[in-house]
């Protein structure tokens, strides 16, 4: 097959190109790696970071999840656009994606790494602050529509949406309410809509399965993203 994706089923980063390929109705072969091992193809395709996901398009490797998503958007132009057309709106979508990867998701992974109750409470506070910021961002970006990208799922929906499985797993494991229907109603509604959409549902790991893998995955995801 012309399009192959190297990844593991549980990784939120791997979910991102999968959602994008689904949105564009692109057939691809999913080459699943075993967690904890790196195949020769994996090492050869991403010699710089040795990480997944890697998209192979006619054997040419593309690395870094959101770079892959942009590539998919630019190659398969017949499907829905993943980024808005306006340059300012595109910059805003890119900005929040960086925020989510650099600040928000690391704070989520720190919850179970906290050694004291104070540290844990502080980290939970950071995650909740982030949720408030993202609720505001959703209001501005969605312009009254269902998704950050408007009427169809796009770049920022994918960037944040891929972490929802992990968010739910964290809530269950810690008895926490992080995506609060009362405090962040728009974001909560968006999450439900996104997760019930076929392009996401097909590739979203089941929460219980994630919890099973929690120790191994948290250790892996504790490494800097990509």
């Amino acid at each position: 097959m012309a399009v192959k994706l190297l990844g593991v089923w549980a990784s939120p980063f791997v979910m991102r190109p999968r959602i994008a390929l689904n949105l564009k109705s692109v057939d691809y072969e999913f080459l699943e790696e075993t967690l904890g091992t790196k195949s020769e193809l994996h090492l050869k395709s991403n010699p710089v970071y040795k990480k997944i996901p890697v998209l192979l398009h006619d054997d040419k490797p593309i690395c870094e999840s959101m770079i892959i998503v942009q590539y998919i958007d630019e190659v398969w132009t017949e499907g829905p656009s993943l980024l808005p057309t306006d340059p300012y709106d595109r910059a805003i979508a890119r900005f929040w994606t960086v925020y989510i990867d650099d600040k928000w998701f690391p704070s989520l992974t720190r919850i179970f790494k906290a050694h004291t109750n104070e540290a844990k409470a502080e980290t939970i506070g950071q995650v909740l602050e982030g949720m408030k910021l993202l609720e505001e961002a959703f209001e501005k970006c969605s312009k009254g529509k269902e998704f950050f990208n408007g009427e169809t799922i796009g770049y920022l929906d994918i960037a944040l949406g891929c972490y929802l499985g992990w968010l739910r797993a964290t809530e269950k494991m810690g008895g926490l309410n992080l995506l609060d229907k009362e405090k962040t109603p728009k974001l909560a509604a968006w999450a439900d809509k996104l997760c019930s959409n076929r392009v996401v549902k097909e590739v979203m790991p089941v929460t219980e399965k994630l919890i099973e893998y929690d120790k191994m995955l948290l250790a892996k995801l504790a490494q800097p993203p990509q």
Partner: protein, 219 residues
């Protein structure tokens, strides 16, 4: 508030990326030097999430994060000046990948070279040289990272050239010795007005590093 305003700090490699991109596109802008020890109300309101420079304010709307700003400049002024990103999607992905590599590796590692001592310093030096060698291999025999044309990836890296002297002096090593092709690429980039106009004097940058070392009580 119409027009283009850039909130910046003279020695910031991130701010330099934006200045160079604007110059490449021939976009007039108002430069505002920020006092990072006392951030202005404008900066804090334009970038409430990070409160960092650079921030580009275009017709009153702020854009933050240097590489995002460079892409914005390319797209907002697509009818002006050269395209900063290549047309081909695969080449674009490569440009984004390597610019992202520079983002992840250069500043943080370079800072450790001048800030740390002893074994930590030696480790930082080794990592720095390894990163530079990887970039040199990526450049290969091409005049610029994107090929024949100066662009996004070159813009992401060239600002660090004015910091090379500081890294070399503080780290006691020679980047030219380790990566001669990178230095040739730097010379080529400096032939462009956008780069030579804005790149600060490396000795002035080193003075700034010495000032920071004193302030942080290093050595």
């Amino acid at each position: 508030m119409e027009g283009v305003k850039l909130l910046d700090f003279w020695v910031s490699p991130f701010g330099l990326r934006v200045r160079i991109a604007l110059a490449e596109k021939g976009v007039e802008f108002e430069y505002k030097e920020e006092n990072l020890a006392e951030k202005s109300e404008l900066l804090v309101s334009a970038n409430p999430v990070y409160k960092k420079i650079p921030v580009l304010i275009h017709d009153g709307k702020p854009v933050c994060e240097s590489l995002i700003i460079v892409q914005y400049i390319d797209e907002a002024w697509s009818d002006k000046g050269p395209a900063l990103l290549p047309k081909d999607p695969y080449q674009r992905a490569q440009a984004r990948f390597w610019a992202d590599f520079v983002d992840k590796k250069m500043y943080e590692c370079g800072t450790r070279v001048w800030k740390s001592k002893g074994e930590a310093k030696e480790e930082a030096k080794k990592e720095f040289i390894d990163n530079m060698k990887l970039l040199e291999a990526t450049l290969g025999d091409k005049p610029f990272f994107g090929g024949d044309v100066f662009g996004y990836m070159d813009i992401s890296l060239i600002p660090f050239a004015c910091w090379f002297y500081s890294y070399e002096t503080e780290g006691s090593f020679s980047i030219e010795e380790a990566c001669p092709k990178i230095l040739e690429w730097v010379k080529r980039c400096k032939e462009r007005e956008s780069v030579s106009k804005f790149l600060p004097d490396p000795h002035k940058v080193h003075e700034f590093v010495l000032f920071l070392k004193k302030r942080f009580g290093i050595e």
